[in-house]
């Protein structure tokens, strides 16, 4: 598993994603809370964070997060996402070969938090990292899922003079929090 993680980390870093690995969910959460404070998430206008709840917070609960970092909301609406600084969601799989995150994004909230805010923070279990595209596709069945999103690094363009510029229409930062201890997680 650790070699798969390292391959993923290398590929993801090569496309400007920021990867952090933690042993437990609590450590991961502590990092996330610190990160949200650091980038200035608060209850002030245009300073919120929107979080689509997933199994990562099982047994911890949204209320705990909100008490730690005011400004985090679990009510994901188009308006909230459009003005938020950070969007947080749990991803289903990752691909080591290309540094890609994969998600059943049929629920519109998952798409809102990963498209509109300038920072997308993705949470992922270490064992969810697979070798390649086909391994993921076999587990995610397109005949049953209506919107599968593959995300490889932040939004980018090279449309002006071919100069690589990060952050066009999507997030300009992609933070990936990989957690080893991710019990009871089912995608």
């Amino acid at each position: 598993m650790s070699t798969t993680f390292e391959a993923f980390e290398t590929r993801a870093a090569a496309v400007s994603a920021e990867v952090h690995r933690f042993a437990t969910r609590h450590e991961g959460l502590a990092f996330i809370e610190g990160f949200l404070r650091e980038v200035g998430v608060s209850e002030a206008p245009d300073s919120g964070a929107v979080w689509v709840e997933g199994s990562f917070l099982e047994g911890i609960g949204p209320a705990h997060v909100c008490s730690q970092v005011p400004g985090v909301s679990f009510e994901v609406t188009r308006e909230a996402a459009a003005t938020a600084k950070v969007g947080i969601s749990q991803l289903d799989w990752a691909i080591a070969a290309t540094g890609t995150l994969v998600q059943d994004a049929t629920a519109v909230e998952k798409r809102l938090v990963s498209t509109l805010p300038p920072i997308h923070l993705a949470v992922l279990g270490t064992e969810r990292i697979l070798a390649d595209f086909n391994s993921v596709l076999q587990r995610l069945q397109p005949e049953q899922i209506n919107y599968i999103a593959f995300i490889t690094g932040p939004s980018r363009t090279a449309d002006i003079e071919r100069v690589l510029t990060i952050g066009v229409h999507g997030p300009e930062r992609l933070i990936v929090v990989v957690v080893d201890e991710f019990e009871k997680v089912t995608a």
């Binding site: 459009a82 994004a105 519109v108 593959f150 510029t165 066009v168």
Partner: protein, 710 residues
């Protein structure tokens, strides 16, 4: 060629922003593409793509119906049409019925193909492109110059100017700021739009899925925020099953932008919830627009294997000089020429097909395994069939088909050239011919052609005979190359036979689309060359070798001539190029290099046909090294020199800068000799260096090796 077309080339060539940007890009592209494919078996990937897409195009009707059924089962409305006008009508009717005020689009070449934006504007509906490059050209009232990077022809200064004039005054030419500006201006448009329009890179029949690839993330917003989503999909995007996505997704980002994967790949299958919880109104338009006509054409069916990566633009020595706009309004470059001929009409390709220099650079890198230059040649042939050859060309080919007349005219030329001749060169020609000598000198016709010279060579009688096919250039301009070849083969105990009745190989006619003329040349040569019982038919001109080995047979097949194919095949089996033959003789121990030779540094130029059709790149190098040379490789050693037969006469304005680049690369090696296997390249490069007054010597490999054997 039309004056208007010639003018557009002239304008492009004199735009330093364009040529600078494209030149730098083509250099960087080679490196990033190679890096992206590290550890990937490209041949295996493209075999899969050709198979997957080839199979799909044979079953378009079935797959389209299967796609429709599956997508509709999942809540989409699928509309199939062959008519671009109906696509526009469907979308506009939908927009009116749904009270659509504004529309956002992510990049879609299919929508460019049918000029959808214009239809929206005429209907008074605001439409905004959201791909940055597309938005820029929309604001600048231009069309895309490149399938992947629509605004590659513009500088940041020009972009700032367009933004300042069209959106908000005072924008500085600072790329990150311009990108931020675009994000800020387009964001409210995404949020306000009622309808989102996308294309699709792949459509999967078994699941009714669309695969959409972007880097900017705009397609994710376009498919998420507006309540209506319309996808316009050319039916060539169909594949049978989910497993077929893999090879396409492996190749497309790597070939298009040198990425392992684009930032975003979205796989949409049916309806998804809108932000207010309602189900998305999803419409998928499967557009034919002559694609199924292409399927029925045995030659052009393979063009449907294109995945729109634009590699054929990126590696093209002509595209990097002239850019995309000279090709027309939608699809550009090599594949664009073919698509324009079909999606628009054959006549539309009349001028642009002439831009292809037939160097074959795009062939080994095409992920769809499409023989792009071969198909362009076929367009050329059909244009000649449809519209006839010009009178001037007719007159020329009339002569070429009459060997005696043709050869006596060449002999005559050696006399009439006298006033222009300076040593072995013609440096200036008067009047309309001056274009030919503007950028390079031409070789003077030799006083004694090779066909006369060989009679004076005393060859020892040998049991083993090899037939030599000289080709016009060696026969009449560079007979010394032929003499060198005879000398070398004699050393291997081989007697060289020169059949007098050999004539022009037909390449000039074939490459001008005059296949009937080429077929007659082929017949005459087959008869002449198979008369002697010989081990090989050897040529020291790769273009002639390709003619003998491949083109004769193809010309007969294309024209449906069946009686000559068996003989053409016999000739093909026997034909070999000079370096490959000599390498064989060395390997067999029949030729031995003189020992201990230190002959110094040279550089080697790969000729297009030798490298890409005959695939002989190591043979000449190995021979030259064994002879005692050190090879200093030049940059882009296998890029065309710009000669390409009559191309340099038809489009000297393009041939000249291609040659200029080649000369620079040669000079940069510091070698005092450049060696090559093609007399056509010798003519172009020697002529260019002579015009430059450069002391670098240009030699055919045969001449360089002439005295190197024991």
């Amino acid at each position: 060629m039309s004056t208007q077309f010639k003018d557009s080339i002239e304008t492009a060539l004199h735009n330093p922003n364009l040529t600078g940007a494209l030149g730098r890009f083509s250099e960087a592209y080679r490196i990033s593409r190679a890096k992206a494919y590290e550890g990937i078996d490209f041949e295996a990937v493209r075999d899969r793509i050709a198979e997957v897409k080839g199979n799909a195009s044979s079953r378009f009707e079935e797959l389209a119906e299967q796609f429709k059924a599956n997508a509709e089962r999942r809540g989409a409305k699928v509309f199939r049409t062959s008519d671009p006008a109906e696509v526009k009508r469907y979308i506009l009717d939908l927009a009116k019925a749904q009270n659509v005020q504004t529309v956002v689009k992510s990049k879609s070449m299919a929508s460019e193909e049918i000029h959808l934006n214009k239809a929206f504007e005429q209907a008074g509906i605001q439409v905004d492109e959201t791909d940055l490059g597309e938005w820029i050209i929309q604001l600048a009232h231009q069309t895309p110059s490149h399938m992947v990077m629509p605004a590659i022809h513009m500088t940041k200064e020009e972009v700032a100017e367009v933004f300042s004039q069209e959106v908000e005054a005072g924008q500085a030419p600072d790329i990150p700021k311009l990108v931020k500006f675009a994000r800020g201006k387009l964001r409210p448009k995404f949020l306000a739009a009622d309808m989102g329009i996308t294309g699709a890179n792949i459509a999967v029949a078994e699941t009714g899925s669309l695969v959409i690839i972007t880097n900017e993330g705009n397609a994710r917003l376009v498919t998420t925020l507006p309540r209506i989503h319309v996808a316009i999909v050319g039916i060539e995007k169909l594949v049978a099953q989910v497993a077929d996505i893999d090879p396409i997704l492996t190749a497309l980002p790597r070939s298009a932008t040198g990425q392992l994967l684009t930032s975003y790949v979205s796989m949409l299958s049916g309806q998804v919830p809108n932000t207010d919880g309602s189900p998305k109104d999803l419409h998928i338009i499967l557009m034919d627009n002559h694609r199924s006509d292409m399927v029925k054409d045995p030659k052009f069916k393979e063009a449907l294997q294109c995945i729109r990566c634009a590699t054929c633009l990126n590696v093209c020595p002509v595209f990097r000089l002239v850019g995309g706009h000279v090709f027309g309004k939608t699809y550009t470059g090599g594949i664009g020429t073919i698509l324009t001929a079909w999606f628009d009409e054959l006549k539309k390709s009349e001028d642009i097909q002439g831009l292809c220099i037939q160097c074959g650079s795009c062939v080994p890198v095409c992920p769809g395994k499409i023989d792009i230059p071969g198909l362009i040649l076929e367009l050329r042939r059909r244009l000649v069939v449809e519209q006839g050859q010009s009178l001037a060309m007719k007159a020329i080919f009339g002569v070429v088909n009459n060997r005696r007349l043709f050869h006596s005219m060449l002999r005559m030329a050696s006399v009439t050239q006298k006033p222009f001749k300076q040593g072995r060169f013609i440096r200036h020609l008067p009047l309309f011919l001056s274009d030919m000598t503007d950028f390079r000198s031409l070789p003077a016709i030799a006083p004694e052609p090779f066909r006369d010279k060989i009679k004076a060579i005393a060859q020892p009688k040998q049991a083993e005979k090899v037939v030599f096919y000289a080709g016009c250039l060696i026969d009449f301009a560079y007979p010394e190359t032929g003499t060198a070849l005879v000398k070398i083969l004699n050393k291997a105990g081989i007697e060289v036979v020169f059949p007098e009745d050999q004539t022009c190989c037909g390449a000039p006619a074939r490459y001008s689309g005059a296949y009937e003329v080429a077929a007659q040349n082929a017949r005459d040569n087959i008869k002449a060359l198979l008369e002697t019982d010989a081990t090989y038919v050897v040529s020291a001109c790769p273009t002639c070798t390709v003619a003998l080995k491949h083109d004769f047979l193809d010309t007969f097949k294309t024209l449906g001539i069946t009686d000559a194919q068996a003989e053409a095949q016999r000739l093909s089996d026997r034909t070999i190029d000079f370096s490959s033959l000599v390498k064989k003789l060395v390997d067999e121990g029949r030729l031995t290099f003189k020992e201990g030779q230190h002959l110094g540094k040279i550089t080697y130029h790969d000729s297009c046909h030798l490298k890409r059709t005959l695939k002989a790149t190591d043979e000449p190098r190995e021979l030259l090294q064994k002879a005692g040379h050190e090879i200093a490789e030049m940059y882009e050693c296998d890029t065309c020199c710009g000669m390409a037969g009559s191309y340099s006469l038809k489009l000297p304005e393009i041939s000249a800068p291609i040659l200029e680049r080649k000369l620079k690369n040669i000079k940069d090696t510091g070698a005092d000799k450049v060696v090559m296997d093609c007399p056509g390249c010798v003519m172009q490069i020697r002529g260019g260096l002579d015009k430059d007054g450069s002391p670098i010597q240009v030699e055919h490999t045969a001449e360089r090796l002439e005295d190197r054997f024991e």
